[in-house]
């Protein structure tokens, strides 16, 4: 109960609940990039439990979720952190798109409303994370203004970031396209869903923080 109440208030006022000893790693990126799938992968691999639900319909994650005290151990190095899964950042949200994907109109309107709040919350949390994992769908054009703007914000705030090109299990995945869009980052190709190359990702994360 206490944890639920704490989680609710900490999502509203992240700075009030900051713990100086805990590194906060935020998962950021556009909707449907696979942030929650990666959060679940990390959480299942190291804590043996899921973190959130995933869906083919965009904006499944509509509020920030925090998994506390995750510890990764890799080649003798260990990294403890709080994992922050954020809603996807978008510039437009139309409930009719959810209806087209099979949702009832009332549910679609409600999802759209919650999704707009989720985007606002995600951006707010940029003030409270220490490290960011940018999660992009390697099968989708990465050169969008939302992605450029997210990266620009991280650079302006001096927040170190690891860029993952997710969904490499898909035939259309093009990791080189992600690399050429953001040449300032070392890109780690993974499939969070299938676990492909996930050990390389853990190594890169431990090495970076």
């Amino acid at each position: 109960m206490f944890e639920t109440v704490k989680s609710f208030f900490s999502s509203l006022f992240p700075s009030l609940f900051s713990d100086q000893d805990s590194v906060r790693i935020g998962l950021y990126g556009p909707p449907n990039g696979g942030k929650t799938t990666l959060a679940n992968r990390i959480s299942e691999d190291w804590m043996d439990e899921e973190m959130g639900s995933v869906s083919e319909i965009a904006h499944e994650t509509r509020e920030v979720k925090v998994k506390e005290e995750v510890t990764i151990e890799k080649d003798g190095k260990s990294l403890s952190f709080n994992l922050v899964d954020t809603p996807g950042i978008a510039t437009k949200i139309d409930y009719e798109e959810f209806v087209e994907q099979g949702m009832e109109e009332d549910d679609a309107r409600s999802r759209a409303k919650e999704a707009t709040k989720g985007v606002i919350e995600s951006i707010k949390w940029l003030d409270s994370v220490d490290v960011v994992i940018i999660v992009l769908d390697a099968a989708v054009d990465p050169y969008t203004q939302v992605n450029i703007s997210t990266v620009g914000n991280l650079e302006a705030r001096d927040i170190p970031a690891l860029l993952v090109a997710n969904k490499i299990d898909l035939e259309e995945a093009d990791v080189e396209q992600v690399r050429s869009a953001f040449p300032q980052y070392d890109v780690v190709p993974i499939s969070a869903k299938e676990g492909d190359n996930i050990e390389t990702f853990y190594q890169a994360l431990v090495d970076m923080v």
């Binding site: 510039t91 949200i93 707009t116 951006i123 914000n153 953001f182």
Partner: protein, 123 residues
């Protein structure tokens, strides 16, 4: 009819972030496609997205935004030096930013050299 509003950088240069966003969103919500000379700061862009999300309703589903600022992704030494010089001399007044309502701009395709967009006449 699809209409464009060219916004010279000097028209927003002296404004606070809040006023810049209000001006741009005001035009966008009148279904103007705004062609801004230069660009906003990255943090201003995210504030614009935040403010846009607060305004989303049945009639306004958000915005499309795209920035043409070529040297941003060029990684060669000469391009980097050129980019730094341009930033030093012109600041954010270099490049162009396209912003429009998502009801008007249906799709944007962007790469470092060009922006292509597909607009729909809502009038």
């Amino acid at each position: 009819m699809i209409t464009f509003k060219f916004l010279p950088y000097k028209e927003i240069e002296g404004l606070t972030t809040k006023k810049r966003i209000e001006k741009i969103l005001g035009l966008v919500k009148e279904n103007e496609i705004v062609l801004l000379e230069g660009r906003l700061e990255a943090e201003e862009e995210t504030k614009l997205i935040q403010r846009t999300m607060q305004e989303v309703d049945d009639d306004f589903t958000g915005i499309e935004i795209s920035v043409l600022h070529q040297h941003e992704v060029e990684s060669g030494l000469f391009e980097q030096v050129k980019g730094k010089l341009i930033d030093l001399l012109l600041g954010n007044s270099y490049g162009f930013t396209l912003i429009g309502s998502a009801e008007v701009i249906k799709e944007v395709e962007q790469d470092p050299d060009k922006i292509e967009f597909f607009a729909e006449d809502t009038g």
